[in-house]
């Protein structure tokens, strides 16, 4: 099957007064229909910005450049704003991290849902209202008819996130970007939402890009994982091998620094130091100041393998 989404060499930079922040550096990935892909990384690694860039939701002073972003046959880089609006919310949808701030507080839940449905599917007032209620029922909101007439502040965090999911899925998008959809929620509510997302994914066969910093959530939700650090992809593989056989020292560090609930450990192994200032990313591998395996290698631009440990040159040095 052909690729649903192709992203090649995506670069997003923010031109600020203090300098240029390269939030996303040469990020490339492909997504097939019905895929579930995860992006893992700590705050500021560019995982959200990468997805927002694809949706073209980056404003001034942000600048998005890429060799290629295509959705099926459409070249998203060539579309104008009006054409892009037809795609956003319709073919590509986004679930934001904070359900508390991403719903408009002055409109009812139902109004906000039917807005997208009317806009993209051209349904009438009554049909779109009915469809919004059906969507609310699908995401497991009890007494959906009443909730549709409520304002967001009347709903709990978990309910709001359900409403957001209903909204994102109302036009049956081909791709759903879920940006830390459960981070702001409690674990028991998180379990409900993850279950819901898995069920819905099977039902409407949407491709999901699941952004999270929690490898536990990622390992439950997706088949393939991208690990990002300082705006770069540093490791990419299927979920199993990322978790069982991580290769990049950062991925290993990330896994080691988080205790698991089902095991007893004596000492945590943290990653030393902290994420570098995005204005002053260290030369060479951005992880080198924190890496215990760091080697003195003259780094050329455009290296493909993102850790010298696993390259020929690195291997020689190590010996």
């Amino acid at each position: 099957m052909s690729d649903l989404l192709q992203v090649k060499n995506l670069n997003t930079s923010f031109h600020t007064e203090d300098g240029v922040v390269r939030a996303v550096n040469d990020v490339s990935f492909n997504l097939k229909h019905g895929d579930a892909m995860g992006i893992v990384g700590e705050s500021g690694c560019g995982k959200s910005v990468a997805c927002l860039s694809i949706m073209r939701l980056i404003n001034h002073p942000g600048k998005v450049e890429a060799d290629k972003i295509t959705l099926e046959e459409k070249d998203l880089l060539k579309l104008n704003e009006k054409q892009m609006r037809k795609i956003r919310g319709n073919e590509m949808a986004f679930i934001f991290q904070e359900p508390m701030t991403s719903l408009n507080p002055v409109y009812t839940i139902g109004f906000q849902l039917q807005e997208a449905i009317r806009l993209h599917q051209g349904l009438g007032k009554r049909e779109s209202w009915q469809k919004s209620i059906d969507m609310l029922k699908m995401v497991g909101i009890p007494s959906a008819e009443n909730i549709a007439e409520e304002y967001p502040h009347c709903l709990s965090g978990g309910m709001k996130q359900r409403a957001m999911i209903a909204m994102a899925l109302s036009c049956e998008p081909k791709i759903l970007f879920a940006d830390e959809p459960t981070t702001a929620l409690d674990v028991t509510i998180q379990a409900q939402i993850l279950q819901l997302m898995r069920d819905l994914k099977e039902r409407i066969n949407t491709a999901i890009v699941f952004i999270s910093h929690d490898l536990g959530v990622i390992s439950e939700m997706v088949d393939r994982v991208i690990v990002m650090y300082c705006g770069r992809i540093i490791e990419e593989s299927d979920t199993r091998s990322i978790i069982k056989e991580p290769k990049h020292p950062y991925t290993i560090g990330l896994i080691n620094s988080k205790p698991q609930i089902n095991e007893e450990i004596n000492k945590l192994i943290p990653i030393s130091g902290s994420v570098p200032n995005p204005l002053q990313v260290p030369p060479g591998c951005p992880y080198n100041p924190r890496c215990e395996h760091a080697m003195e290698i003259e780094v050329s631009r455009g290296h493909y393998v993102n850790c010298w440990l696993y390259s020929k040159k690195g291997g020689q040095v190590r010996q």
Binding site: V187, G216, V217, K258, Q260, I261, K267, P270, S272, S274
Partner: protein, 324 residues
């Protein structure tokens, strides 16, 4: 026994709800509703629960940062709720707190030396050059460089700020520290650093911690005993190993099973709770947990269960423990 450093007896904290034209009290939010436990010297009690269950309120009430509604807290022989203001101020030297948000808990207008030195001087522990040395020592102990004392909080990253908060709390050589979600606003790679630091300092200074967190896996790592809170009450408390291996309260079971495990091969038998946490202003009748409980019976809807010891220091508040 003498090694109990903190003892809580039926601690309650109600917040009044006002309404109507004259803002009369029309009800209470029972944020903490009758909590009792003890902490032994040198141990860490992990306090877990979901947002709104009253764990932070309890932490603050113990130190009398919030005025308690009822109950008593004993620190060694002192009753914290009954001591005079003057005496409490002296006592606070022994009782310190590490706050959740390292961004808002440090005064942006003071430099780090002043932030840490302020309390040292206030409590008359040192001044002048001696104070300076103490500040630099604390910074070094907490993994910062001593010459950072002239810098201001905004110059530090989140993890470093949390280290400053810890240095401030520990500069007075306290015995008991309430750590209110000290790692939840930090990145994963930094969380482990801070938890390790807290453990090292515990060993070095013989500290006793109340570690409040919603991160169940971190609590398993750092605690000796764990208390689970739900709607203002402790529903289960016991030794860490016992709690994670053999949870007895249905809420604890659901809570533990809900934590995602980083293992793609593991098939989880997850208990998915229905519904949300009820409002503490209007808790359900009988057992607080009954509307979401899988096993609830008629009795659970009428009669409130007591927290009772079912052997080996494992206390749980559920009518049906023996039955299930």
């Amino acid at each position: 026994m003498n090694d109990q450093i903190i003892k809580l007896e039926d601690v309650k904290k109600y917040f009044p709800v006002r309404g109507g034209v004259f803002s009369r009290v029309i009800g209470h939010v029972k944020a903490v509703d009758g909590v009792s436990f003890t902490i032994k010297k040198g141990e860490t009690l992990g306090l877990v629960g979901e947002s709104g269950c009253g764990k932070s309120t309890l932490g603050r009430t113990i130190l009398k940062l919030l005025d308690p509604t009822d109950g008593s807290v004993y620190f060694k022989d002192h009753s914290i709720f009954e001591t005079s203001k003057e005496e409490l101020r002296r006592l606070r030297r022994e009782l310190q707190m590490i706050f959740q948000d390292p961004y808002s808990s440090l005064n942006p207008r003071l430099n780090v030396g002043e932030i840490i030195g302020e309390s040292i001087e206030f409590h008359g522990m040192a001044s002048g050059k001696e104070k300076q040395e103490k500040v630099e020592y604390m910074l070094e102990v907490c993994g910062l460089s001593p010459h950072h004392h002239r810098r201001y909080p905004h110059e530090f990253s989140g993890g470093q700020r949390q280290r400053i908060g810890i240095a401030r709390a520990l500069s007075l050589n306290p015995e008991f520290v309430v750590a209110d979600e000290p790692i939840s606003s930090l990145d994963v790679s930094i969380q482990a650093q801070i938890v390790n630091l807290m453990e090292d300092l515990q060993e070095e200074f013989g500290l006793t911690y109340l570690f409040i967190s919603h991160d169940l896996s971190m609590v398993r790592y750092i605690s000796d005993h764990v208390a689970v809170m739900y709607l203002g009450k402790v529903v289960e408390i016991c030794d860490k190993k016992e709690l994670y291996d053999n949870p007895l309260h249905p809420y604890t079971q659901a809570l533990l099973s809900a934590v995602p495990i980083m293992d793609p091969d593991l098939k989880s038998n997850r208990i998915i709770l229905s519904g949300d946490v009820p409002s503490p202003a209007n808790p359900p009748k009988g057992c607080n947990f009954n509307p979401r409980c899988l096993y609830a019976e008629d009795r659970c809807r009428i009669e409130e269960p007591e927290l009772r010891d079912i052997g080996a220091g494992h206390s749980v508040s559920c009518h049906l423990v023996e039955k299930r």
